[in-house]
Point group: C2
Chain length 341, copies 2
């Protein structure tokens, strides 16, 4: 590949394009951003010069000068959870045609890391922030309150938000599932979930679930928690353990579909009568379930829609600032599948 005149490795600037095209920097800038009136002739000249030089604009300088950054910070606990990539894709799809760009930060469910990631993001002065959850450290909360840009807290509506909130009520989701299970006649019910105090949404689902059971005068018969490892495998193991410990249990409520799927596979393998003798349910409505031999009962967490609504709020307010404080509660629906009788 032959080297262009600019053979020193110095990055190209507007000035280089300006000189190469014989047009002022300002006009070059206008052409490159499609702003203001530029004659077709100059336009051509400039684009030609930019292309042959291989000029890539410096957004850092542009952002500093214009006080505008087309970035939206998206802060989520994990990428390996399957749920968050889906939220992300909802966000991306909407931002795609707004000129805004998502930038992802991952917290690993750690409030300290969330605070660091948030600080890092805000120091780039993004046009908005989308952040998972309502629970944040005092420092994070202060930063969000003072960010001076739209903030959308997603996934969860059970609690007060800093600004806009888009999500579902996990408490209610848990309650509804409890009601459905009780209505189906199950009475000895076990819960299997993650040992993660920082997963507030799973915690709220369990609280709601207990409330729902309590309403029918029932309490959980057994519980089992795990942390780390392959969720599918853990689901198997926990199910095996619980069935061994509490043989007469008649329903297993899993805090997520992956461990639920592991449990389902185990039960089918053992030839257990599902849903006759033993009912099963998970949470999330992940696509994976469609490939299993039996459809696990679950509840759609509206992941993509949460992403797209959140992105819409940010995009709308980036375009013209409003008062903020939007609250959007989505309604998850129980998918009974084949594992509740």
């Amino acid at each position: 590949m032959s080297r262009s005149p600019n053979d020193t490795r110095r990055p190209l600037t507007l000035r280089d394009v300006s000189e190469a095209s014989g047009v002022s920097e300002m006009t070059v800038s206008r052409v490159l951003r499609n702003r203001g009136d530029v004659s077709e002739a100059t336009r051509e000249k400039v684009l030609e010069a930019a292309r042959t030089l291989g000029y890539v604009p410096n957004k850092i300088a542009g952002a500093l000068a214009s006080q505008r950054v087309n970035l939206v910070g998206v802060i989520i606990p994990s990428l390996s959870n399957l749920v968050f990539p889906e939220v992300l894709s909802g966000i991306s799809a909407v931002l795609e045609d707004t000129g805004l760009q998502p930038v992802v930060g991952v917290t690993d469910y750690s409030p300290e890391k969330e605070e660091r990631v948030l600080y890092e993001m805000l120091s780039w002065r993004p046009s908005g922030v989308i952040i998972a959850g309502l629970e944040h450290s005092a420092g994070s909360r202060a930063m969000l309150e003072n960010a001076g840009v739209p903030v959308v807290e997603i996934m969860d509506v059970d609690g007060p938000g800093v600004d806009a909130v888009v999500g579902i009520s996990h408490r209610r989701a848990g309650r509804q599932m409890a009601e459905a299970i009780v209505a189906a006649g199950y009475r000895k019910i076990g819960f299997l979930g993650t040992k993660m105090p920082e997963d507030h949404r799973a915690r709220k689902r369990l609280e709601g679930f207990n409330e729902g059971l309590a309403q029918a005068g029932i309490t959980l018969t057994d519980t089992e928690f795990y942390s780390g490892g392959s969720a599918l495998l853990k689901g198997r193991e926990m199910t095996e353990a619980m069935l061994a410990r509490t043989p007469d249990i008649d329903f297993l409520y899993y805090s997520n579909d992956m461990i639920g799927a592991g449990g389902l596979i185990y039960c089918l393998e053992k030839g257990l009568d599902v849903p006759g003798q033993l009912g099963l349910a998970g949470f999330n409505g992940v696509e994976l379930l469609a490939g299993l031999p039996r459809q696990l009962a679950t509840m759609d967490a509206c992941r993509r829609e949460i992403g797209s609504k959140a992105a819409e709020i940010v995009a709308a307010r980036a375009a013209n600032p409003g008062p903020g404080g939007e609250i959007i509660e989505l309604e998850p629906v129980i998918q009974r599948g084949d594992t509740i009788r």
Copy 2:
């Protein structure tokens, strides 16, 4: 929450901290970056002022002035592939303690989108770029060549790279799997994969697989391709279709573990004799497989290690520029599992 003196929504600047602490902007800057000698007393004053004001530095201005950006662009085809989040976590883990930050861009396997994402990233003048694959549009390749920062192409080593390359040989991986299958005595072999011309690594695996078979005088008995939808479900459906069409087939090679897992579940459900009558193998070594009743034969794609090696190269060269052009080929290993006799 009470408002601080700065009640106009103007973002805080170094100057605000400087005034609040009675110290020059320069010294404030030094304190905030831990650079140069600052007396403990001033240090305290400054930090105190910054904290109470809630000052967040403006990295845009900082980057412009210092010509240094602690960002590393990471460009991958997809987040829902399970493989890429693992690569990412390898990258993050290494960058964590280097002061560099990964910024992710997703291409959806589209060269045009890759070019746009790359352009966008380079316009932020990152300290390095990690990009999946060796195949890029002419435009992308030109940008990579002229970026003036370390570029690491990952996942694949079958072809020439722009700068550094970290990955495995998918062609060889396919060949090795073919050899193992033939050695186990299977002869009527089917391939099931994605209908994605843009997935060059899957294509190379298939090419290598065919080469491996050809060496034993065998050609593929049947093939089946899919696109979109739940991979697990597609694996089921394709397996069903192929077994119906070619009942005497004795081995199914899947282009990835998700469809392989779907196929395995289907076969077990139908009570087929795996691996006696019918052998199965996938590719990737995803964690999910551990939860299945039978272990699918597969090949570890070294995802996390690819990520960490790539990050190490970028970090090393960000610290002190070298000649570049590192080539690291990792060696995937066949995991025979329970589905090859």
